[in-house]
Amino acid sequence: MRSHARIGFILLLTPLVLWLGLLIVIPHIDMFLISIRERISFGVYETSLAQYEKALTEPLYLRTFWRTAVMSVLATAITLVIAFPVSYYIAKMAKGRLQQVLFMLCLIPFYVSELVRTFGWMILLRETGLVSTLLQWAGLADQPVEMLYTDATMMVGLVYTSMLFMVVPLVTTLESLDDSVIEAGYDLGGNGVSVLREIIIPHAMPGIVSGCIVVFMLSLGNYLTPTMLGGKDSLWFTEMIYNQFIVRSNWELGAAFGFMLLVLSSVIVWGMLRLTGRTLQETMG
């Protein structure tokens, strides 16, 4: 009996171990090994930290690195601020069918690939696009307006792409909040602000934290949206990784960039958990 349970346990665990091992652990070890070598001449490599030194001393690399970090945090914050009222409305105020319909409306854009969705924004915002035409027609602009390739446009794209991943955990946690607890908050003298601060937000904290972690990681690792909507003026760190690997065939530097991004996201997620006083276990479990 015990040996049966053991075999079952091993069988159940195998796919997970294989997945983690083959797709995550081994590639990362390999990547790390690539990142700490330096090409001396054709086919001759030496172990060194030269790649990281280059990455940390070259202003363009370093600036893009920090910019990506700050912009991702900002995108996460904006997504949270927009998604919270939306989620609250879906979870607590909408009833029955309306609730389902609203939730579906959040989900439906994600049936389409990210590429197509981003093209949608380009159609709206380009010089000859819908918004520009409308502004000219209304007399608010006397020549075509280019709204693509700015930080603001990229931010719109990032927030739009991440919305669902914030709304889902928020709706789930907010739904589990008993209406009578909110009513009790008012009954005992609270107003909208204090009920939100002392009751709703503390209750929604697990959803807020897990939503923020997912959205932050998605933004940080996003390649498509910054490339298409941000253009040359808004360089994203993932674009630089791509360039090193594919365009310049400099795998060593690309791998070093990749590792820097991994460390950055780990540090920021850890900081986020510390700040809210939660453990990863609570948030994910």
Binding site: D178, S180, V181, E183, A184, G185, Y186, D187, L188, G189, G190, N191, S194, E198, I199, P202, H203
Partner: protein
């Protein structure tokens, strides 16, 4: 003396349905008032209107003489103990109790002192630092009451707060709630579907059915002098017979039941010969005897067979089937006289006309 709470001609409609239909009542200061009714009768709607979560369609709610219709829930001098208590799980016990005081911008040290006092009052000193889910059902109950009582409301509303507790604890909490009410000397308005909760604790009970108050009175009034057939059937147990009135002499009357028996009863309200009517007799008003002679003093006498004995300690009952084939519930006396009674035994039963209440119109 101005009543603490007064509702006049209160009406609440949801679309086509009328949940609360022209209800008026007043609750004197310091009393324990219960609204008792089956689920869906509108009692929760009344409570939510008093608390301010619903606006009445028409009518007025006055607290200590002043109308509160335009006062939002967070400004009303009433607090509510919710059905599932609705303690704040994200806060400690002390933070829960102090929540309302923090809203009043009371200084921190004063809040801490008041919270400690409240915890002493409910007999749970020193638990302020604990989390809500570390408490037992009865402790949570008391904390929920303390959380309201620190705010010194004019009226405390309780919405079936004992519903989630197990039987033993519920019995205990009934006594405790009454004691807490006396200790805080505040007006309690309590809603429940459990008649025993209402009867044990209340000074006044309103029996509610289909949006209306059927009768308002003390427990004794409702039990011994029900004014409507609904109250007679809802409070306590009753044997019922439907039939037609044979003759009426003042309050005394005789009714011919559908099964053909002639019964002596007392009229509740005016009645004339030929009316359809219904008689209610409580199981404990019926006397059980081995022979007809022992029942000679009773106005109504029947004989029948024991079909079942329902043993439940002091509340044991016997089911007796009379010759007409109807089954009656009779209280089994615990004097030892009927210890040998078993299924199939022939018995005689009887009751006085004064114990049989007759209502006009069959329901």
């Amino acid at each position: 003396m101005t009543p603490d709470l007064e509702c006049t001609d209160l009406v609440k409609r949801f679309g086509e349905t009328t949940a609360v239909d022209n209800v008026s009542f007043s609750v004197p200061p310091g009393s324990f008032f219960s609204i008792l009714g089956p689920s869906g009768c509108g009692k929760t709607t009344i409570m939510r209107m008093i608390a301010g979560f619903l606006d009445p369609t028409s009518g007025d709610i006055r607290i200590k003489g002043g109308s509160v219709l335009d006062t939002p829930p967070n400004k009303r001098p009433v607090n509510m103990v919710f059905q599932h208590l609705a303690l704040f799980p994200m806060m400690t016990i002390a933070e829960n109790i102090g929540y309302g005081l923090r809203r009043q911008k009371m200084p921190k040290d004063q809040i801490a002192r008041k919270v400690d006092e409240a915890l002493d009052r409910i007999g749970l000193p020193g638990i302020g630092g604990r989390k809500v889910d570390e408490l037992s059902g009865g402790q949570k109950q008391r904390v929920a009451i303390a959380r309201c009582m620190v705010l010194e409301p004019d009226v405390l509303l309780l919405d079936e707060p004992l519903g989630a507790l197990d039987l033993k604890l519920r019995e205990h909490m009934k006594v405790e709630l009454k004691a807490l009410q006396a200790a805080f000397d505040t007006t309690f308005v309590y809603i429940t579907h459990d008649q025993s909760e209402a009867l044990v604790m209340s000074d006044q009970i309103a029996v509610m059915n289909a949006g209306r108050f059927e009768q308002v009175g003390t427990g004794q009034d409702l039990y011994y002098r029900p004014e409507t057939p609904f109250v007679a059937g809802f409070i306590g147990e009753a044997n019922r017979w439907k039939g037609r009135i044979d003759r009426v002499e003042g309050k005394a009357l005789q009714m011919r039941t559908d099964s053909g028996l002639a019964m002596q009863a007392t009229a509740a309200g005016p009645m004339t010969t030929g009316d359809t009517a219904e008689i209610f007799v409580r199981p404990e008003s019926i006397r059980l005897a081995a022979s007809a002679e022992a029942l000679s003093g009773f106005d109504n006498q029947l004989q029948g067979k024991v079909t079942s004995i329902l043993f439940n300690g002091a509340a044991s009952r016997v089911l007796v089937q009379d010759d007409a084939g109807e089954t009656l519930e009779v209280t089994l006396p615990q004097s030892g006289e009927f210890d040998a009674l078993k299924r199939g035994d022939a018995v005689h039963i009887g009751w006085g006309a004064a114990q049989a209440t007759c209502f006009k119109g069959a329901i």
